[in-house]
Symmetry: C2
Subunit: 266 residues, 2 copies
């Protein structure tokens, strides 16, 4: 277990664990069984969208594991969720079986309550299981993906419109930077606004690129960057990518990190 | 063993190994015994300054090991070099016993031939052993220090004077950036010049700072940076430092690197 995050407003817990591939599905099943026993979505409220007591389970390759392995683990886990816990499953990300299900937001749109009423629509049929949600545990999105990076840039203004405009300029869905999701928020207690992002493929669009585009867009509006925030963990490859970009060192490699070389030997 | 570098022009081999503190001195002694048996400085030539068959042995803390432990290892190793191999020893870096011996260059100035003629000068008396060099193996500098970073910035000009001027501007010894050693070189075959550096304490002056100062100095002279080169390995903390500096993320920590968190658990 390397990380657990939970807060009352979201009423949601994010658990991150690392396991050998041969053990990962058993571990995830053990977690899903507890969530199914303890959480009843009919009596659950929270700010974060959700459709399942076990809401979303992404398998993420660590170090040099091929994505193919994570896709197979996702499909194995999804099949067991249905056969053992009777929870219908939607595959997303690299494990998606329908192209329109690659994006988690699309799979989860409307949440548990909406899905319960429409799961028998042909285009909402689960990838595993029958067209009926589990009465208390709903349905689960099971995926395979590379690590996401949660990244925010704070701007020295109280004008929320600036953050919203920049978020719109950079987000992929409105023609901005590929693999970037972005929203503008107010940080009222700090007198700042924030462009809050998920970078869904740092190999395509990494932190350095995003930071510079936002700084330039802010300056065009007469606003300076206060600071940026990397939320939670990032892969070593993403940090190495920032070094490459920031000091124009295209040949820099992960195994030039001293600790990587030593740890990889162990 | 994590790295071995050797080339004919320098006629010198740099061996990097990682060991538990309890084994590090034995391992270094085994290496020094081979060098003493095989290398005769009376018949040795090479471009790199040297005063010993085992020329310099720095103990470098890895991960969270305190520097104090490396200083003790250096002193233990130095005492054994003298008692077991009859090689006189000079302590440098954080293991120095005289303040004027902190800098390796000062300890090694003049090399084997010069030292052999002057080791009985009071200010050249070894920290371990008598005032006489080992006939074939000379003397050894034994130190404790944090990892050095070898870092070069290449400039799009053939004017060597630009690289030399910038090197002089930034090097610590002429009042530039602290903990920076710098020289200007020609890369004739590539039509470039290079500012070649050692960063002796990346916690004080890191890659990002140096890159930007050189870029600005070059631009003032109408010259652009071509690219930069990180030579060999750098500690993870240095890469994390570049991320912090480059995207103004002062709170970013090493344990936000996913692999660090996992490897540190093992």
């Amino acid at each position: 277990m390397i990380d657990v995050q939970a807060d009352a407003a979201h009423n949601r817990m994010v658990v991150t664990f690392v396991a050998e591939p041969a053990l990962a599905v058993d571990a995830a099943m053990a977690g899903a069984a507890v969530a199914t026993a303890r959480i009843d979505l009919r009596r659950h409220q929270g700010e974060h969208p959700r459709m399942g007591a076990t809401d979303v389970v992404p398998f993420v390759p660590f170090a040099d594991l091929p994505m193919r392995v994570c896709i197979d683990l996702a499909h194995d886990f999804g099949a067991r969720l249905w056969t053992q816990l009777r929870i219908p499953v939607y595959y997303y990300g690299d494990a998606a079986r329908r192209p329109e299900r690659r994006e988690l937001e699309k799979v989860r749109r409307g949440g548990f309550e909406d899905l319960a009423g429409h799961i028998d629509d042909p285009d909402r049929a689960p990838d595993e299981g029958s067209s009926e949600v589990h009465p208390s545990a709903g349905a689960t999105a099971v995926g395979a993906r590379i690590p996401l990076i949660a990244y925010n840039v704070n701007l020295k203004t109280t004008d929320l419109q600036v953050a919203k405009e920049i978020a719109k300029t950079i987000r992929a869905s409105s023609g901005g930077l590929p693999n970037v999701k972005a929203l503008g928020f107010e940080l009222a207690d700090r007198g700042l606004v924030q462009v809050s992002m998920n970078l869904t493929d740092f190999r395509v669009t990494n932190i350095w690129k995003v930071f510079n585009v936002i700084r330039d867009e802010a300056r065009r509006r007469g606003v300076e960057v206060e600071a940026s925030e990397i939320v939670g963990t990032i892969p070593l490859a993403a940090a190495v990518g920032v070094v490459k970009d920031a000091v124009v060192e295209p040949a820099f490699r992960m195994d030039q990190i001293l600790e990587k070389r030593v740890w990889a030997e162990e």
